[in-house]
Symmetry: D2
Subunit: 277 residues, 4 copies
């Protein structure tokens, strides 16, 4: 499995969140506490939006995040108001750049932790459901990229929660056709540079961990001495596979079977369930 | 495009053929004379059979061959009586290990120079023709790997020339359906460890270059001083994208539209044409 | 040998100079015209200054620049008013990140094309001349990095032209002691984020090529239709190993044995010669 | 720190020891039990002798061993009667091929787990003690390679235990001069293809773990059912940083401050202590 982090808020050096917290994502690459694997060393990726950027910049590598000097350089020099970071623990598919997250299509950026159960049995049927015009853009061999292309096929760019629900519906339908009991396990983040959606769902109702940060004003009241919070604007929000530290009051579990959206017009959390295609 | 070399004969250190000739494959990685590109620096691969080996060993990397120390080490220390070597010049698909040749399935090893024209238009239809049980084993995104899996689907393990002919027939049929004038351009080598087949074909009848070495006894008469020839057994044969040097009498062009097989019971060269599936 | 490009001027997407020109640095990585080698595929690096950056960000990789997706991403999304780019053709030392340019020390960034002749004979004596407090920061095995650390030892941060002259003086002195006829061949660029120095020198007075761009107002008069020039401020300047295209009036050879400095208070070109230490 | 394995005995597929045991070296790369770090993912290397090989073949890579396909291929196809394998956890020096073990000089192969304490303070003085004719061959930046070159300087090829003792003596002497309390921590393996020496020593007398396997005839009596033992010749011996499993009677601790030699004329274990140079 994997670990990921999605940030939206005051422009921030990436390293502030990727390297500096006690249990930062880089620390999680070696010592994950809540993941299926303690080591997430099979590649990593970052994607960020910045001023004047039509599309996010995406940098992905196949080695471990903890020793990558280019990641350290970029994180120490690039500021962004909306960025994704992902560390990978392969469950079998090749360790290659095209299997690293985030994935991109136009302005849209996608990352995932989880798995389509018994993917080898359903991969071909899922591939057939991808819009033929999108099919060629599939470059890797992961279930995560397939989920992204299915969501694009089902209208991600117009209705993200609906498209993800239809994708999940198809994955469950085809899984069940092949006799898979619990076809889907997912925590997904997706953005187009302005809004950020996060999904937590699994067929078995035992989803991988997912947390969101409390409101900045609440955090300021709780932890008045934290320099990070002084710089952060009120709409700053983090969504993470596992908390970046043990500070009380900071982290809230995303409820099982739900979707959250972070956006300038106000954040929202609502139930999520697969839909038939 | 790419360059490749296939060897069958007396067990030989790989470096004897990969590094030592004037215009060795490693030299071709920087200075190809007959290729579409002079530089073939987008990955490489070697595959070899040795004593007691059920399957070929395959080592592939994404960097240039000319500077790869592990390739130099292996070539300088491993002997083989049947090996493939390939250097890649990507025409767009990702530079990743799973896109490097040779490809393997069980005992079978495949490498290719050429292209399926306008692959993005036909990729999905070709993918659908692959045996569903084989489909999951496709790991990369090249036309070359797709050709291998189509040939496997069409019986490569029972009838290599027939299976390759049916693969070529399907590629032409689907290409024509999509309005592609000249769908296929290929020089292919394939082996199961005992016999070695080479194919030269293109829809346009203007195939990439391909050469085979003269019979060892002929070469000994022509070039009595060459140490390599003293060691080589009578059934030693090389097939190469371009000659490894300028020695007269050594290299013969594989005729347009033909297939050659190198095997213990005697080599054979015969016409090759696509067949309807 | 290598190729490099140094830019100072209006903040610019890196790709504008690295990818878009006819004979861009990326094109030179495959098809250098003036270099000793036509292929520069043994690693690359970029270093850039941006707003609020205390030190330059440096990203280096060991593969070829032409196929590197992360370089393409960064170049397409990062803007800088002062950046370096370098493509490497190794003359023997290992293809590894720590041998890629630019090198950095604090705010200072250094890149080089050329060689210390017969480096194996003089390397140890040169290493002994490096300030012991700096010695540990040497990470790679190139002559280029050694030249940087010698220049730092000799006061690069206070007097760049003087320090480089003393470095060149020492290299020649130690080379001559070991019987090397022409010890040094160099084109060097160095910056601290505000000013940019370029050096062209060789013991034999036959230095590698180096060019600087004409004044922007001159270029605007010559080529009124070029979009790049409309965006460029008057103090914009490029220094390159070889011209990025064939446009007349754009490129001027840096004279043999000279140093140029690009800086807000006006550019300057003056003679350069090694000095005794 | 690192983990390593040295094998001498009946020609064996590398995977038999690298992948198949319960707690194989590959498993240790993710889940080391006795190492300072649980993850050893900063590169790996193997080196092997085979028939007709003048020098060992050495393959090293910078990524984690657990996901490396080329390592899997080589281990699954190459047999050797004397081989080394090493997995690395960097303590700061660059993750690059030239910092991976084993190191080679002619027929000699060296690998190490441990550290020279406060290496940055003593590196330069140690470098000065290396034979100037050997100095250029130092390619990386690790203390491990420096120890190898010091041992070579002090006569490794004539008297391995003596040369290693003098190397250790120098490291302690120079460390003490710089006020380092416990300058050396090492477990080293070295071979020339016929004999294999292993050293366990630390200035503090608290050395990293090191184990050797019991005599094959003892093991056969203890574990009559093990297929590996049926194939193994009587002189087969393994030396490992940590046991490859929990089988009773198999693993014996190399005593603190000792050196063992495995050789055709009989193995031997004797005390080891640094010597003044």
């Amino acid at each position: 499995m994997c670990r990921w982090l999605a940030y939206s808020g005051t422009p921030m050096l990436l390293e502030t969140l990727l390297y500096e917290p006690d249990h930062s994502l880089i620390d999680q690459s070696l010592h994950s506490r809540l993941g299926v694997e303690t080591t997430n060393g099979d590649g990593f990726g970052i994607g960020w939006f910045g001023p004047e950027m039509e599309t996010p910049a995406i940098v992905r590598e196949t080695g471990p995040a903890w020793s990558n000097r280019n990641l350290r350089e970029i994180a120490g020099h690039v500021r962004s108001s909306l960025f994704f970071a992902h560390i990978r623990a392969s469950t079998g598919s090749a360790v290659q750049q095209t299997n690293c997250h985030p994935f991109r299509h136009g302005r849209w950026m996608w990352m995932h932790n989880g798995a389509i159960a018994e993917y080898h049995r359903v991969r071909r049927d899922l591939a057939l459901a991808v819009d033929p015009r999108l099919f060629l853009d599939i470059e890797g061999s992961t279930d995560s990229e397939m989920m992204f292309f299915l969501a694009l096929t089902f209208g991600l760019e117009e209705d993200p929660p609906g498209a993800v629900a239809r994708m999940a519906g198809l994955v469950e339908e085809i899984g069940h056709e092949h006799g898979v009991e619990h076809p889907l396990q997912m925590t997904v983040a997706v953005t187009e540079g302005r809004r950020l959606w996060a999904f937590r769902y699994s067929s078995q109702r035992a989803s991988r961990s997912l947390y969101y940060s409390s409101r900045v004003e609440t955090l300021r009241a709780l932890h008045p001495g934290m320099p990070f919070l002084r710089k952060a604007s009120d709409d700053t929000r983090l969504i993470v596979s596992e908390p970046l530290g043990n500070l009380p009051g900071v982290w809230n579990e995303v409820p099982e079977g739900s979707c959250g959206v972070v956006r300038p017009e106000g954040d929202k959390l609502f139930p999520f369930a697969p839909q038939p295609v």
